[in-house]
Structures are given as structure tokens and as C-alpha cells.
């Protein structure tokens, strides 16, 4: 499957999810705009997935265990 086909297939699947969850609120024109937006999301995701990271590359996000005083 080409990159373009892969993006299109993923967009179709994600758009189906949006249509399932929110379709009753959206016109055909709005769904077209949502499709365009999802295409951007999927293209960004594909760009991220092309970069290989090491197992040690953690999210740049601190998590601190919580405990109240006492």
C-alpha cells in the first residue's frame, strides 16, 4: 500500500469514528471540512512514526507521585 493510500485508509477509518460519534450534529459540508482536518492529523502522525526512537526516549513529561503532608 502506498503512503497516500495508507493515509487515505486511516483518514476513512477515523472519519467513520467521528461520524459515528457526532455525525448527527454535522452537515455534509462540515464533514468534508472535518475530513480535511483529519487528513492533516494523519499526515502529522505519519511524520512522527517515521522517526525511530530508543526505548530510553521517554515522554518529555514529568509525573510526580502525589502525597499530602503528614
Amino acid at each position: 500500500m502506498s503512503e497516500t493510500d495508507a493515509v487515505r485508509a486511516e483518514v476513512d477509518a477515523l472519519l467513520a469514528l467521528v461520524r459515528e460519534r457526532y455525525g448527527s450534529r454535522l452537515t455534509a459540508e462540515e464533514l468534508d471540512a472535518v475530513r480535511t482536518g483529519i487528513t492533516g492529523v494523519v499526515e502529522a502522525a505519519h511524520a512522527l512514526r517515521k522517526v525511530w526512537l530508543d526505548n530510553a526516549d521517554e515522554p518529555g513529561q514529568p509525573f510526580t507521585p502525589y502525597r499530602t503532608d503528614g
Binding site: V18, Y22, G37, I38, G40, E43, L48, L53
Partner: protein, 466 residues
Amino acid sequence: MAEDAVFVPVRRLAELIRTRRLSPVALAETFLDRLERLGPRYNAVVTVTRARALEQARRAEREIAAGDYRGPLHGIPYGAKDLLATSGGIPTTWGAAPFKDRVFDFDATVVRRLEEAGAVLCAKLAMVELAGGMGYRQPNASFTGPGINPWNRDAWSGGSSSGSGSAVSAGLVPFAIGSETWGSILSPAGNCGVAGLRPTYGRVSRHGAMALCWTLDKLGPLALTADDCGLVLEAIAGPDPADPTAADRPFRYDGDGPVGRRFRFGVLRGITDGCEDTVRERFEQSLETLGAIGTREEVTLPNLPYDDVTRTILFAEAASAFEDLIESGRIAELTAPEDHYLPYVRDSVLAKDYLKALRLRGVMAREADRVLSRVDALVAPGRLTVAAMLGTEVRSAIRGTTRDVMGAIGNGAGLPAVAVPNGFGARGLPTSLQFMGRAWEENTILAAARAYQSLTDWHERHPADP
């Protein structure tokens, strides 16, 4: 009235107040009058906080008369972007119609710290609804109307801190607080020809500020000069038990700095690709000016999807932060028609891709620091274009309709940047120059921006009152 005090930097106003040549009450009256009279022309104001301002100004006057001078913000009027919680019955609307009557019973930490510094809250300032987090495509995206640019009233003041930019530019307040997730301080500062400082992520507590993206949101000042931004940052920076991401790193503004210091400036290869011609010309002129105070070298970064990293984080966090509004369908009450349906796009970000973006953020931060460790600041145009015209589509790196590597890295890695005016471009609209530094190096970039402003007079030009 103290009309002569309009368009006077905070540092000068502070000296006049400290030496009792300027009354805080008269100063507050002047800016309250301008906010009420001129604010509507720019759609810059949500609420003029007259009662609270006069109470604070009278207190400042009493304290200073008694010899109890708190510092350079004592008695100085300011405006706060309307995503900062304020007590006392003052609405906090987030620029969004569904919240136009909402009131909090506490002050955001930034508002509280400014009160402790003696500053006088004169207005809650207009903003793009929900700080633009729903994907707006054009300026008319706030229940207070599109932000209007004081330099050209057919142009946008920028987003999302629209009122913070236009209010400082039009002389409605000496300084303002804005917020930036990606571009929302530097954009209105650049569009309106004023200085704007995006602090390091965690430098300023976000407690009481609307959350758009927990790992990207920063609060910072807009003012007439970079120097004024430093004065304000010192007042609002610091740890806060109410915001665990607020760093335990005291900040003391070095406003004097070493006189005659030389700087090392870096310019990312290809940084003006896609710039409007006049923006590129002003930037090249700025580089010549910077030659008087430092050296310049071209720098490169590895080929990584910087815009995609920051965009993916922003989309996923914004969708979660406003889950209630999106799921309930209340986004249909927002002003921009596209904000009624574009939020659903963000539901399509997969968890693994969000985490990949967070992991790549770490790589991006290390690479950016590697480059920045060799220079004092990266310099670049503040924006690729001058302000968009009202009624037209806004180009946005967040939506992917333009690129913004400096913004993607700066916000994704949480790095500080300051934008200052560097001339005028198409349609008489301001252009800007940004200095971006290593994490926690606000003093370095402010010193560089201050040195640039000592060689230029763009910050001394102001739009005429309409």
C-alpha cells in the same frame, strides 16, 4: 488626567510615581477613560474593572505617600487577558459566548502577584474564544468581535491575546498579560508593534488560567519595551503550590545588564523561507543592526517533524481540556462557525501518536538546547507575514497552513522568546523580530532585545488615536 503618561514605558512611569510626580489615581483615571472610550473601537476589552482599579490606585497612592513603595509596578495600570480568573464579581469569559457571564471567586496567581506588586487591574482584555483551541480560521472568533489592529483598522490585532496586543499598542494600558500555547503572545505583539515575552514553560504559575494545553500553556507580558516585559516578569514569576509545573527557580530581572555586552546570535538556515518580502527585508535590516552588538552565525537543526510534534500535542490536549464542551455539543454556541465542527478533528489523534509526540519533544528539546548552548539567542522574524486583514483566512502553523519552526520548537520545548517591533511592512502594518533563548535564559534574551531597542526607535512609534 495624566494624558502625557500615555505611551510612556512602565520604567519611566514607575520613576514618576515613586518620586510622587505622578498620581496613581490620576494615572488609573486616564487609562480607564481610554479603555472605555477607545477600547470598543479595537474590540480590545471585555470588562473595564473601574471599581477595582480605583480601589487599588487609591491604596497605592496612600502607601507611596506613607513611604511604603513596593517596586516598579506600584500604581501602574494593566490589563489581563480574559482567561485569568478574577474575584469580586468580575466576569472571566475565556472570550467564549458560553462563558460570558461566568464569575470565579478567586484570583489567578498572576493577578494576585500583580496586586501584591501594587499594579492596578483596569481591564479584562479580549481574546480569541478558548484561546483559539478549537481551530478558528479567521479573525471573527470571539463573542466580543474580531480584534482590530490599531495601525490599520481593517487588519487583525492577532491571536489569541488580541486585546492584550491592541490595548498596549493603542495606549489603553501600559502593559498587559497574555498567554501563549503556540504563538498567542508573539503573534499579537508582532501584529500590533509592541514587545511580547513568552517565558520559559513553568516560569509563571498557570493557576487560575484557562487550560488549553497543560504542557504548552505559558503566561507572559506584553508592553511597550522589552525592558518593561522584564519588570513585569519579575513580579509574576516563581513557584506556586497551586501549580506543580511552576518551577522553583527564582527570577530576578537584570534590567541594567552588563553595558556594552557583545552577543552571539544564531540564525536557523532557511528561516525566512515563506516570508512576505517586506518581512524578509525588515529582518535583513535587523541583522545589520544586530551586527553592532554581536556576531552572527548560521545554525542548523536535524531534520525532525517539529511542527507535527507540537501540533499533535496541542490537538490532543485541547480536545481533552474541552471534552465537556465538545461532547455536550456546546461548541455550537461559539462565535466562529468553524469552531462548531473543527474540534471533532482532534478526536482523531491516537494515544500512541500523542505519546510519540511527547517522546519526540524530548529529542527536540535536546537538539534545540545543543544549538542554543553555542549562542545567546536565535533570531528570526516574529512572524512570516504582517497581520491578516479582517474577513480573510488566517495562515496558521497550528492548522498546517504555514510553517513556524521557531514557534514549534519554542513552544514544544518550552523555551523563552521575546518579540519586538522592527519596522513596517505591507499596508502600514508592523513587523517584528524575535529572540529565542535556552530554557530559563529570559535575562539573556531580554538583554539582547533591549540592546536592539537601544539602537532603533520602532518602539517609540505609536498609532494615532482614531
